[in-house]
């Protein structure tokens, strides 16, 4: 498990990485996003869905994007956004593009926008984290589902415990709230700890 020094270092590097990622989106929207201190937890694989989506009673339908990344370190990025936030985000994007189509009628358009935002957010965040740790990663194309559960069977994918990093994308004025989760599997723990210790050693 991660000790406090390593956990704090990871929180700070995610904070720096996510700051860059959020700025890319905020500047695109010409808006201001509240940044929050990221959360870090290690959970058994069977608890991932609960940790990411909350309790399953009364859980609304959510747009959930998943994107795998691989390289020196590998993992998965999830971006979760509720339907109303997705609607508000799409309205903002169509105002920017000056082409507005009826949102209720055009789910494809909405999904493409969410995928694009998730891709910018996830790739900027993980790309910056990789850069800070002197590493390189590449990204697989993201997928999107409208559901109230996580469909991927992570136990089959070889996970036993999962490191979950969670941050919030919040544009208060536009009423857009999304959650970004980064999942690392078992074999990454050792590498991550070693890289973070090296980073601390070099920078403090």
């Amino acid at each position: 498990m991660l000790d406090n020094e390593i956990k704090e270092a990871l929180e700070e590097l995610i904070n720096i990485s996510y700051g860059s990622a959020t700025a890319a989106i905020a500047d695109l929207f010409d808006s201001f996003a509240q940044l929050k201190v990221p959360g870090i937890q290690v959970v058994p694989v069977e608890e991932v869905e609960h940790a990411v989506l909350g309790k399953n009673d009364h859980r609304p339908d959510l747009y959930i994007t998943t994107q795998m990344f691989k390289g020196t370190f590998k993992g998965e990025i999830l971006f979760v956004i509720d339907k109303q936030s997705a609607y508000n985000m799409q309205n903002l994007i169509c105002l920017l593009e000056k082409v507005c189509i009826d949102q209720e009628e055009n789910d494809t358009e909405k999904r493409q926008s969410i995928l694009e935002i998730a891709n910018i957010l996830g790739a900027s965040c993980i790309g910056k984290l990789a850069e800070l740790l002197g590493s390189v990663v590449s990204f697989l194309p993201p997928n999107i589902e409208l559901d109230n559960r996580l469909l991927m069977d992570r136990e089959k994918a070889g996970y036993s415990k999962v490191l979950i990093i969670s941050t919030l994308l919040e544009f208060e004025d536009e009423q857009i709230t999304g959650h970004l989760f980064i999942l690392f599997d078992d074999e990454i723990f050792v590498w991550l700890e070693k890289s973070l210790y090296a980073f601390i050693e070099e920078n403090t």
Partner: protein, 119 residues
């Protein structure tokens, strides 16, 4: 010189501390805080010559702390050191009276440059 460094993570405070030139470090008193509330309390208590302040912190964020500090002391010299590099965040801290806003992790040369201006 009295230097106040405020950030919720030890790593970030240590990164700033490490980049302060040794001659300045040896001749200065350095104070550290871990959130905006502590920034305000420490500022009022020690009246530092310069403050390095983070924005994203628990209890009280850096925007609020900056506003209170500048209301308490309009001459307060505060540099924001942050991961929040949004154009609107930059505009807001400058409006609130920060002398500058620096992207994390701050460059060693830049810290020396900033400290040179007040010595």
């Amino acid at each position: 010189m009295k230097i106040l460094i405020v950030d919720d993570t030890k790593l970030s405070r240590a990164m700033i501390l490490k980049r302060i030139p040794d001659n300045v470090k040896n001749s200065s008193k350095i104070f550290q805080g871990t959130n905006g509330r502590e920034a305000v309390e420490l500022y009022k208590e020690i009246k530092p010559d310069i403050t390095f302040l983070d924005l994203t912190m628990p209890e009280m964020d850096g925007f609020t702390a900056l506003e209170i500090i500048r209301a308490h002391d309009p001459d307060a010299l505060v540099y924001v050191v942050t991961a929040d590099i949004q154009a609107k965040a930059r505009d807001r801290v400058l409006e609130l009276g920060a002398k500058g806003i620096e992207r994390k992790p701050i460059d060693e040369g830049r810290i020396a440059q900033i400290l040179d201006t007040i010595r």
